[in-house]
């Protein structure tokens, strides 16, 4: 705890932007055991059991003086999909943005506590923030392919711009597209602009882009909220297929979606974790009365 507190307090915005010159060193300085252990987690192969486990310990997040996430203790299991539900403003997006340390990119935002990925505290002062993002990928609400890049260049952008070796790139890009269930649809237009795809395809492109760097954890912040029902369904199916390769944490407004995709569901309210349990149980026989009220539509 003390170590992580120190690291966050001594890591203002400026430190979150490492000097490009020192960057290659710090990249290699982050040797998450996970990356080495499952370096071959490509295509549809599964990874070693237990790799990609995330534990939050007394996690607090703030925006200025607003206390957005309050002392959350929570574990995200490997090979499982965890959904986080709760009313707007309950801190669920903030919580997942702490896992890849994107939260602190916002002016005035900070976090303390621990986020432990496979035994390694991501808030440790020795950890390079850029390297964290390679181990913990993220997909956003609105599909955000890079507008100057083709479909394929988008997929491999993470690889290219983080210095992967050239020979690797084509294969890994292809595998990522296959993994995101997009290969068949785009194989004939890999060189067309990424923004020319439909909204659902764009979002799967973004998932492919996140998968290409082979993260251990994939955070999805309401990934279907800008999509139509058919595209949503495709992404939900994809989530089911991906969970053997990557630990998935999905924030959703849609309780039916949580029920469909998640093994475990977390209910948050006013920045606090109210209840966590197997999805079936949480939706049918929750322990907490507030959870029951929320899942039965009495508020939110």
């Amino acid at each position: 705890m003390d170590v992580s507190r120190d690291s966050t307090e001594s890591a203002p915005m400026s430190e979150a932007r490492p000097d490009p010159q020192t960057d290659p060193q710090t990249q290699s300085g982050f040797t998450a055991p996970t990356v080495a252990a499952s370096g071959s987690a490509q295509g549809s192969t599964t990874r070693d059991r237990g790799v990609g486990t995330v534990e939050l310990k007394q996690l607090n997040a703030y925006y200025g003086s607003t206390h957005a996430v309050r002392g959350v203790d929570l574990a995200f299991e490997s090979d499982k999909v965890t959904a986080i539900i709760g009313p707007s403003g309950c801190g669920k997006s903030t919580l997942v943005r702490c896992i890849n340390r994107m939260h602190e990119e916002i002016d005035g935002a900070r976090a303390d506590g621990q986020v432990v990925l496979d035994g390694l505290d991501l808030y440790d002062s020795r950890i390079d923030i850029v390297a964290v993002r390679r181990a913990v990928g993220m997909v956003f609400q609105k599909p955000n392919p890079f507008p100057t890049m083709s479909v394929f260049d988008n997929v491999v952008s993470g690889l290219r711009l983080t210095g992967a070796s050239r020979g690797d790139i084509d294969d890994r890009g292809r595998e990522a597209l296959v993994g995101a269930g997009l290969w068949e649809e785009v194989k004939d237009r890999l060189k067309a602009p990424g923004v020319g795809l439909s909204g659902g395809q764009q979002q799967r492109l973004c998932i492919a882009r996140a998968l290409a760097v082979e993260p251990e954890v994939l955070l999805m912040d309401e990934p279907c909220s800008a999509l139509d029902p058919v595209a949503t369904l495709k992404i939900e199916e994809l989530i089911g297929e991906l969970k053997q390769r990557v630990t998935i944490v999905i924030v959703t407004h849609n309780m039916q979606q949580a029920a469909r995709v998640a093994d475990t569901t977390v209910f948050m309210l006013d920045g606090e974790l109210i209840e966590v349990g197997p999805t079936d149980k949480l939706f049918t026989t929750p322990d907490d009365s507030r959870t029951e009220q929320y899942v039965t539509g009495k508020f939110g």
């Binding site: 507008p147 993470g158 973004c206």
Partner: protein, 293 residues
């Protein structure tokens, strides 16, 4: 609905007055817009009509004649202007874009805001003052030169390039930067490989507009590069001829031929500025499309 309520709907009362006022505002603002277009058409039209007579290949490819002789052209002025503006661009465009990148991508607001404010003030500095400053810096105790004129024009260009580049870079959706961030791409790399390519069209636009703006700048040129030798000169260490100064000098002359030549040179200058503006717009349109605006 009863008849009484219908009567209320039919009673237009002050609605009539409001409609008239509405109409009046619409007419006045339309007239203002037409006036702006008319001014441009009149300026360009009169320059064209008065200058086109003297414009010829000979005029464009012959250096200015000796004082008192006729039959000269503006080739030396075109070359001189090109060199002066080119050197100014080489100085101002990279620095301006770097300033914009720093303030939009890296600097905290407490630094970015003052820098923006300073650029706005610099943009408002009369060019004659920039000219005098450079005169004191480079010419006094030395001699006039094309380079000194370039430095002055670069100072005029800098805030234009930097401010337009800032505007364009802030248009790049933050979601793209966020996406790059979340992929573990270092900030400097994502700026170079994602933000700048996305904004490229707009950056080119700003630079071209700045070039167009200073191409006709006269005050600093009079101070810094006006005592020119004969013939086509290319050494920026010496004073160089320029189109704006040629226009100024010829229009001061009592000779009617010189006046027509001034109009012709003005036509060349305005054509250059117009073409540059049109090209700049095209780049801007492309850039906006990329950024989904």
């Amino acid at each position: 609905m009863s008849a009484d309520q219908h009567a209320l709907l039919l009673d237009r009362g002050n609605l009539k007055r409001r409609n008239r006022f509405n109409k009046a505002v619409e007419v006045v603002s339309t007239v203002a817009a037409v006036l702006a277009v008319a001014v441009l058409v009149i300026v360009v039209g009169s320059v064209f009509l008065k200058g086109v007579g003297a414009l010829s290949l000979h005029f464009l490819t012959t250096p200015t004649a000796l004082f008192g002789e006729s039959g000269g052209g503006i080739s030396n002025a075109i070359v001189g202007s090109a060199i002066i503006v080119a050197i100014a661009s080489v100085i101002a465009i990279p620095i301006g874009i770097l300033i914009a990148i720093y303030t939009t991508e890296f600097a905290p607001p407490s630094i970015a805001h003052p820098v923006r404010f300073v650029l706005d003030i610099l943009n408002g500095v009369p060019t004659i003052i920039t000219g005098i400053f450079v005169f004191g810096l480079l010419v006094e105790g030395n001699h006039q030169s094309g380079f000194a004129a370039s430095v002055a024009l670069a100072i005029v260009m800098l805030p234009i390039v930097a401010r337009t580049a800032q505007e364009v870079l802030t248009l790049v959706p933050s979601t793209l930067k966020e996406a790059a961030n979340a992929l573990g791409i270092a900030p400097w790399r994502s700026t170079v490989r994602i933000t700048i390519p996305t904004a490229a069209g707009g950056l080119i636009t700003g630079s071209l507009l700045a070039v167009a703006r200073v191409a006709g700048e006269t005050a600093p040129i009079i101070l810094l590069s006006s005592i020119v030798s004969q013939g086509v000169l290319t050494d920026p260490g010496e004073p160089l001829a320029s189109i704006p100064y040629f226009i100024f000098q010829s229009s001061e002359s009592p000779s009617a031929t010189a006046h027509t030549e001034a109009w012709a040179a003005a036509l060349v200058l305005i054509a250059f500025v117009l073409v540059l503006n049109v090209v700049a717009r095209a780049f801007y349109a492309r850039s906006r499309k990329r950024m989904g605006a």
